[in-house]
């Protein structure tokens, strides 16, 4: 018998936990950057369409798969998917639902620890009096484990361990007393902090407190629609990708949370409520903070240049400085709110990443909640240390690419095919609508069976064979030259090899050679973890056979 007797405390708690799982750092750092890079206001059209035809179907699929697995006593994806398809290999597809979470948690908790550290530094006034370069240098020294301003040796590692201990302790308290309680505190706080900062973001006035632009300049930059970009497959691919990351689908966390919902309780309305809550945080709050405030103080050209390297730089190297333009007190308060908001967004997601592993150990090996939670903490620590120690060699990015990007698409594609075609849409539809508190529109049966899998296949193939410069038109008529961001060229390290071939400085050559070594080593490590988890699933399967628990 499974040692897993967990339950949710309340329906609102479950929805907040699910919304917290979806709301992450990407809502504030990735979405606005993606919008700016992909047609401004016009990006919202493919984005919302992808939400309707891919995001919502995937939410319903994952919620119903989870609840279905829960009825059979399964709380992690290997045996949830195993109950839905006759082929015994399906459970190895389900390994992705544990592996992704552990690998993503390994680097995600590191960023989460930065936010914790930056909250602390905002409180003690570390950024007060620093110019923008000073704040940027602080970040550079921090991630390279340089000199600590607190006098604490290896400060990033200390905060990383603290963050992991906090996550592990909360997880050890259980679903209702740990995860749900944090979501009930964290989500309202996140929205409150977000509303305050969004208000500041949309009320900037040029000439006041050093601002060079009104907030309308930033909002124009973000929202002015460039409808010509709607014809570009790259924009649609970016929109579909953003929907993936923002909803935390294709990870196995939604299945795990939903597996604690009883068969007669609603999932369709719950999924919609959590999904739209995530959209509110992303589109309404996320769009009103990073870009408008940055452009208000730095101007469009500078920010356009900075967003090319993503939102992390703006968030950690620029905003702490900009907040202090509002005065010492408001600067410190805004710093606490901004990094506090990111921390709540992060921890509600990282807690979700812990639950599949814990559920698996409880179900299959009768582990207690506490020991399973601490084993998660240890596993993540060991896997995460390379991202901390070898950050500059690209280990962090490598984890993010394979576990946090490619794996999500692969698992979502498989689970959609399983749900719609193997388990069958007739049974699947019954699972979605069973106990539903809303009328699920009938046309979604068609969307789930045909549109969602095709869209996912297109996203996967588009990532596998991305044409050079994202120019699909040229690729169609001419030779198909792969972009260095395509999965195929990534595997071959084409980008790094090109840089190495062009490098002349011995130090740069050495750095690139090290990068190639660490990138390959990271992949081997991640693959080894996947194989180890697959072996564990195989062991659990044999144990089930011995105990006559197969279903």
């Amino acid at each position: 018998m499974s040692a897993n007797k967990e339950s949710w405390g309340s329906r609102v708690g479950l929805i907040l936990a699910m919304a917290g799982n979806a709301v992450g750092l990407g809502n504030f750092l990735r979405f606005p950057v993606q919008a700016v890079q992909n047609g401004g206001g016009a990006f919202i059209i493919p984005y919302l369409i992808c939400f309707l035809v891919m995001g919502i179907p995937l939410l319903w699929i994952e919620w119903s798969m989870g609840r279905f697995g829960g009825k059979h006593g399964h709380h992690s994806t290997p045996f949830i998917v195993d109950t839905m398809g006759k082929n015994r290999l399906w459970k190895y597809v389900g390994v992705f639902g544990i592996w992704t979470n552990i690998a993503v948690a390994a680097y995600y908790c590191y960023i989460e620890s930065w936010t914790l550290s930056y909250v602390f530094h905002s409180v003690i006034g570390t950024f007060s009096g620093l110019d923008q370069e000073g704040v940027a240098n602080f970040f550079g020294a921090y991630v390279s484990l340089g000199t600590s301003t607190l006098g604490v040796p290896y400060e990033p590692i200390v905060f990383y361990v603290l963050c992991l201990l906090l996550n592990t302790w909360i997880l050890s308290q259980g679903l209702a007393s740990g995860v749900e309680r944090v979501a009930k505190i964290g989500m309202p706080m996140l929205i409150l902090f977000g509303l305050f900062l969004a208000f500041r973001g949309v009320t900037l006035t040029a000439g006041e407190n050093g601002a060079i632009n009104d907030s309308s300049v930033g909002l124009n930059f973000l929202w002015t629609p460039n409808f010509d970009r709607l014809w570009s497959p790259t924009v649609w691919l970016a929109a579909a990708g953003q929907i993936f990351f923002t909803l935390s689908v294709g990870m196995g966390t939604v299945h795990c949370y939903a597996s604690y919902v009883r068969g007669n309780d609603d999932i369709a309305l719950n999924a919609m409520s959590a999904g739209w809550m995530n959209e509110f945080v992303e589109v309404v709050l996320g769009a009103a903070i990073l870009i408008p405030i940055s452009i208000g103080y730095l101007g469009v050209d500078r920010v356009s240049e900075m967003v090319q390297s993503g939102g992390l730089g703006l968030a950690f190297q620029t905003l702490p400085y900009l907040f202090y333009q509002w005065g010492d007190l408001l600067g410190a308060l805004s710093g606490v709110m901004w990094f506090g908001l990111l921390f709540f967004a992060g921890i509600t997601s990282s807690l979700a990443m812990g639950t599949p592993w814990i559920g698996f150990l409880q179900d299959e090996f009768n582990w207690g909640r506490k020991s399973a939670a601490w084993s998660f903490g240890l596993f993540v620590f060991l896997l995460g240390m390379p991202t901390v120690l070898f950050f500059k060699y690209g280990v962090f990015d490598e984890y993010d690419y394979w576990a946090g990007t490619v794996s999500l698409v692969v698992f979502a594609l498989f689970e959609t095919i399983l749900f719609s075609w193997v388990f069958g849409i007739r049974k699947g539809w019954r699972e979605i609508t069973s106990g539903s508190d809303i009328k699920v529109p009938g046309f979604y049966k068609f969307i789930i069976k045909f549109i969602t899998p095709l869209l996912l296949l297109w996203v996967f193939l588009g990532s596998l064979f991305t044409p050079k410069g994202g120019d699909w038109g040229a690729a169609m008529i001419g030779p198909w030259v792969l972009d260095n961001s395509s999965i195929i060229n990534k595997i071959k390290n084409v980008d790094l090899k090109e840089k190495l071939a062009a490098a002349t400085d011995p130090a740069a050559i050495q750095l690139l050679e090290n990068q190639i070594f660490f990138v390959n080593a990271s992949r081997i490590l991640l693959l080894a973890v996947w194989i180890a988890l697959a072996l564990l699933v195989y062991t659990a399967y044999k144990k089930r056979v011995r105990e006559g628990r197969l279903n």
């Binding site: 339950s7 949710w8 405390g9 309340s10 329906r11 609102v12 708690g13 479950l14 929805i15 401004g40 206001g41 016009a42 919202i44 919302l48 209702a176 309308s216 909002l219 124009n220 973000l222 929202w223 002015t224 629609p225 604690y260 919902v261 009883r262 007669n264 309780d265 609603d266 309305l269 719950n270 919609m272 409520s273 739209w276 809550m277 959209e279 509110f280 589109v283 309404v284 769009a287 106990g435 508190d437 809303i438």
Partner: protein
């Protein structure tokens, strides 16, 4: 702000906020199911023992 940006922004914000509020209110106003349900907090409420019509 320019007109097109303003229209896109306000339409999106209204749509997303409206749907978020709509679904959350729907959750809050839907009568709970009789026990046993998925949630622990309401286990001791006597009115929950009556099947929902």
């Amino acid at each position: 702000m320019n007109t097109s940006a303003l229209i896109v922004m306000l339409t999106t914000i209204t749509l997303v906020t409206g749907l978020m509020i709509f679904f959350f209110i729907k959750v809050m106003t839907t009568p709970p199911r009789p026990e046993p349900d998925s949630y622990l907090d309401n286990d001791d409420e006597p009115e929950r023992e009556v099947p929902r019509k």
